[in-house]
Symmetry: C2
Subunit: 428 residues, 2 copies
């Protein structure tokens, strides 16, 4: 295939005409396909149905230490749930608090607490004139929504293939005391599927922030969400690395079982240093008597241990892998040689990101919509919804069936081609 950039105007117009005919055919099918949100499919949800059987009226709902999970008490989670999630995220159970059903909720509460009460004795952020967060972009829209909600100024940091641009991160945090945090999805990142390199993690752990209350918000959402059994990305464990680097209190690590068992009915956790935990618990004990221990126990009894989780994730991978491979194969076959964009080939996580020529993303998403394919809005993976290059499109392969996804990808490819030709012609 010839690159569009090298085609003559005539060749482009001819290609455009053929694509428009193809596009019209798709439109006539009246499709309704959705590649917009990172929701597990029905098939994936079915994998956890036996979780509904592990507790019953015949089963003792008592923990190993004698705690009756049915009653009040235990602020920071039952011990066996801490062990289970600790193993999953490679942290000491003593460094963990188990919360309710949502790690997003923990992140929100963490920011909210920092606003009203400050971090480990530092000035509450609501008393400061300016608070900033670094936002590796593209990133997770719901992270940015939290910081925006609290009026925190967001500063874009470009994502490289190794993670955030660490030169920029080091420079900014060392100079600017108003920078209080950075949002990270360090493994199989949302939306690109990048895993931070060893060097990136080591440089994170060695940051010298101007602000004493600077924290790394390490959202390890896809820690066990591999597509392959051997060909997996490895991420250096950040708490241990920060401790080794003499920055034990600099990171909050978040995780949940949302895309492992049932989204919305899982358990979520924070892992951090003893000092941070103490700071958090001072507030947490006012906020709640405790989270849902029965559901914690349900997860422990179902998964048993981290091997159980790994085995379970293998089943998820079996449903996700064909979808990722199909999309990537189509991109390789249809788009690779055209010079109209780029993408990473993630080995896990929930997303593939297609990066169009500058100024094409909105057009592609709009075209896809008119052909019956709903995508995540262009711009969503950026603070304030503003993609400065209008080029990033997040693709969520999980929810549709492979068949629907194949059709949706075909439509997407046609839309990318069309929008690219339009852009090239416009410039010519």
């Amino acid at each position: 295939m010839q690159s569009y950039q090298e085609m003559s105007k005539e060749e482009l117009l001819k290609e455009k005409k053929a694509l428009e005919a193809e596009y019209k055919k798709f439109q006539q099918r009246g499709l309704k396909l959705d590649m917009s949100r990172g929701k597990p499919s029905q098939e994936q949800l079915d994998l956890s149905m036996e979780m509904m059987d592990v507790l019953s009226s015949d089963v003792d709902l008592t923990c190993e230490d004698g705690t009756d999970c049915r009653n009040y008490g235990v602020l920071d989670g039952i011990q066996e749930a801490k062990v289970l999630l600790g193993d999953m995220i490679e942290c000491n159970p003593d460094n963990i608090i188990i919360y309710g059903n949502s790690s997003l909720n923990i992140m929100y509460d963490t920011i909210s607490r920092s606003m009203t009460h400050g971090v480990m004795g530092n000035t509450p952020w609501c008393k400061l004139d300016k608070v900033k967060f670094l936002c590796p972009v593209p990133g997770y829209d719901r992270h940015f929504a939290i910081t925006e909600h609290f009026g925190i100024e967001m500063v874009n940091v470009p994502m490289l293939s190794t993670g955030p641009d660490m030169d920029m991160v080091e420079d900014l945090v060392s100079k600017d005391e108003s920078i209080k945090g950075i949002w990270c999805v360090p493994k199989y990142s949302n939306p690109q599927g990048i895993t931070y390199s060893d060097e990136t993690v080591r440089r994170f752990a060695r940051l010298k922030p101007a602000a004493k209350d600077f924290r790394i918000y390490w959202d390890n959402a896809y820690c066990v969400h591999h597509l392959y059994d051997i060909d997996q990305d490895h991420l250096i464990e950040i708490l241990a690395e920060c401790k080794r680097a003499g920055n034990p209190d600099m990171v909050y690590k978040f995780a949940s079982t949302s895309k492992i068992s049932f989204p919305g009915s899982g358990v979520a956790a924070i892992a951090t240093s003893a000092n941070n935990l103490e700071d958090i618990k001072r507030q947490l004990k006012i906020q709640t008597i405790g989270y849902d221990k029965v559901n914690q126990l349900r997860h422990v009894r179902f998964f048993k241990d981290s091997h159980g989780i790994a085995e379970h994730m293998r089943k998820h991978a079996d449903t996700m892998r064909p979808k990722f491979e199909m999309i990537l194969a189509k991109f390789d076959a249809e788009l690779k040689d055209l010079g109209v964009g780029s993408w990473y080939s993630p080995k896990g996580g929930y997303f593939i990101t297609y990066e169009t020529l500058e100024g094409c993303a909105k057009n592609v998403v709009a075209k896809a919509k008119k052909a019956g394919v709903v995508m995540t809005p262009a711009g969503a993976p950026f603070p304030y919804g503003k993609d400065p290059k209008d080029s990033v499109i997040r693709i969520s392969p999980s929810y549709p069936s492979l068949e629907d996804l194949t059709t949706a990808t075909e439509i997407f490819v046609v839309c990318v081609k069309l929008a690219s030709i339009e852009k090239i012609l416009e410039k010519a």
Copy 2:
């Protein structure tokens, strides 16, 4: 029996000696009894065990409207849970948001949101010099802990047999714009077991607060927690009454199933006006994708409807009633004629409050502890833990067995008698 106040010093000393011997006998038994927290007993928890059976891998986890409870989505709760809790708390399901496992958490979040973002467009409280809350006393320690945590000044308002002193409430809220709320447990109140009279509720609904963002925090924790089937207290529904009075936005009503199914594994709700709901959801959608819908469904499938809840609460009442009646009978028999304190006889809820002679509560609690009976700390039912008269003691009958509770009550009675004599002698 003769009143202690009318006894001569000699008579008192004689009585004291006899009581001290009795007290010593209890001490020698090395008891460990707990009347400190409002926790359901094992027997009560067993009542809900079949809730663990209603969902299984064979059961469809789909709502009536087709929502798959296993996946993401539905910010404000599944419709059938809104109907169930709406019927329970006498509110339109459209006025309800279903949260996670804890109404305390909702209250905390409500205060926290008011601090950072204000109430319906009003100035965020963190930007104000002074924020105050009215606190009917005695009240619930965890309410006061929240307001204290946020640096909100608490103003005591005495509880009368009809509810808070409404003359004082009306006067204060109409004059002082810094008063932003009042904590209420309007039915079978914590800790006295008082239900607000019709007049009290009507006066609440007709308040003319100086602050536009004044809200009544109506914690209807014990709405269905009756001890008797016919002889029940009735509370006027506050949302409807506020609407009728032209103050539709003035109240947040909170409830949960914590002491109905399993504490910590129930569902909680807020009910309020459409305007308030809109204000809340603007923040809630940033905080979470949604709460645990599977657990909401579990509650709906178990209880079915408000009749199911009422039937279930009858079983709870069967375990609670003998405990309440035993304590009240002992108080009547042993303390009534001595002139050493007073109490209400609640028809529901979780607590009985004993009010000692002034300056005796701490002494009674300390004496009980030395004889092996743990009580809620004296002072706990007051803001900042300070009971100005040192006279209020909260008794929690639910957790111990009737046998243990009987012994604990006998010890308590001896401690009250002893502390009262000591106080009378000290004054004489």
